[in-house]
Assembly symmetry: C2
Homo-oligomer: 187 residues x 2
C-alpha cells in the first residue's frame, strides 16, 4: 500500500461517488476532525473546488474559519465506528475527542489527516460570509489530493480489486451506512 | 409499488448516500432533464435545502433560471444507460433529447419528473447571483419529496429488500458507475 498524489484536476473523482467524509482542520495548535455526510465536488480542472456543510455548533468549523485551511477525507468500512464517533461527539464537550485518532501531516500543508482513509483532499477556504452564515456552506479550492493506491488508481476507484474493508461508506441515519457496491459499466 | 410522499424534513435522507442525480425543469412549455453527479443536501428540518451544480452550457440551467423551480431525482441501476445519455447530450444540439424519456407531473408543481427513479425532490430556487455565476452552484428550498416505496420507506433506504435493479448509481467517469452495496450498521 502506498499513499499517492492525485492530480488536483482529477480530485473530484474522489468525491463523485458521494461517500461520507471526514473534515479536519487545525488552528492555534488545536486539531479536530468531524464526520460530514454533505461534502461534494463543485468544479474540476486546475481550479478544482469542493463544498462542505459545517454546522455552527461544530468545533471544527471554528478551526476552518481561523486557519482558512481544511481537509476532506474519504473514510472506509473498517473506520465505520470511528466515523460515527467523530460525528456524535464534539470537541466543545470533550477536549480528548481525537486523542485516539491516528493523525499524520502531508508535506507542505499544516492540516491534520486521518490515517487509514481511502483519499484526502487539502482545501483552501474561499471565504463567503453569505454562504457560511446563511447556509453553513463552505467552499474550498483544492490545493492537493492523495489516495490509497489499493483502492484508487489512475484517477479511478478500483474497489473490485481491493479488500471489502476499504469500501467507502454512504451514510443513511443512526449507525447505518451502505458500502459502495458493484461496478456497472454502460458500453 | 407505490410512489409515496417523503416528509420535507426527511428529504435529505434521499441525498445522504451520495447517489448520482437527474435534474429536471420546465419553462415556457419546454422541458428538459440532465444528469448531475454533484447534488447534495444542504439542510434538513422544515427548511430543507439542497445544492446542485449546473454548468453554464446546460440547457436545463436556463429553464431553472427562468422558472425558479427544479426537481432532483435519484435514478437507479436499470436507468444507467439513460443517465449516461442525459449526461452526454444537450437539448441545445438535440431538441428531441427527452422525446423517449417517460415524464410525469406531481400534483401541484409544474416540474417534469422522470418515471422509474427511486426518489424525487421538488425544489424552489433560492436565487443567488454570486453562487450561480461564480460557482455554477444552485441552492434550492425543498417543497415536496417522493419515493418508490419498494426501495425507500419510513425515511430509510431499504435496498436489501428490493430488486438489485433499483440500487442507486454512483458515478465514477466515462460510462462507469458503482451501485450502492451492502448495509453496515454500527451498534
Amino acid at each position: 500500500m502506498a499513499i499517492v498524489s492525485v492530480p488536483v484536476e482529477k480530485s473530484y473523482r474522489l468525491l463523485n461517488i458521494g461517500a461520507t467524509t471526514l473534515v479536519s482542520a487545525k488552528a492555534e495548535d488545536i486539531e479536530n476532525v468531524m464526520s460530514v455526510a454533505w461534502s461534494c465536488a463543485l468544479d474540476y480542472g486546475p481550479l478544482s473546488k469542493v463544498t462542505t456543510v459545517l454546522d455552527k455548533q461544530a468545533f471544527t468549523r471554528g478551526l476552518v474559519e481561523k486557519s482558512g485551511l481544511f481537509a476532506i477525507q474519504i473514510p472506509v468500512a473498517n473506520q465505520a465506528e470511528l466515523v460515527i464517533k467523530l460525528g456524535t461527539t464534539s470537541r466543545h464537550n470533550n477536549p480528548h475527542k481525537i486523542d485516539d485518532v491516528e493523525i499524520f501531516y502531508p508535506d507542505g500543508f499544516d492540516v491534520p489527516l486521518v490515517k487509514g482513509c481511502a483519499g484526502w483532499i487539502i482545501c483552501q477556504l474561499i471565504r463567503d460570509e453569505n454562504n457560511q452564515q446563511n447556509h453553513d456552506l463552505f467552499i474550498g479550492k483544492v490545493l492537493a489530493a492523495y489516495a490509497d493506491d489499493r483502492v484508487f488508481k489512475d484517477a479511478h476507484w478500483i474497489f473490485e480489486q481491493a479488500p471489502n474493508e476499504l469500501r467507502t461508506l454512504h451514510y443513511v441515519a443512526g449507525g447505518q451506512f451502505y458500502l459502495i457496491g458493484e461496478s456497472l459499466e454502460v458500453k
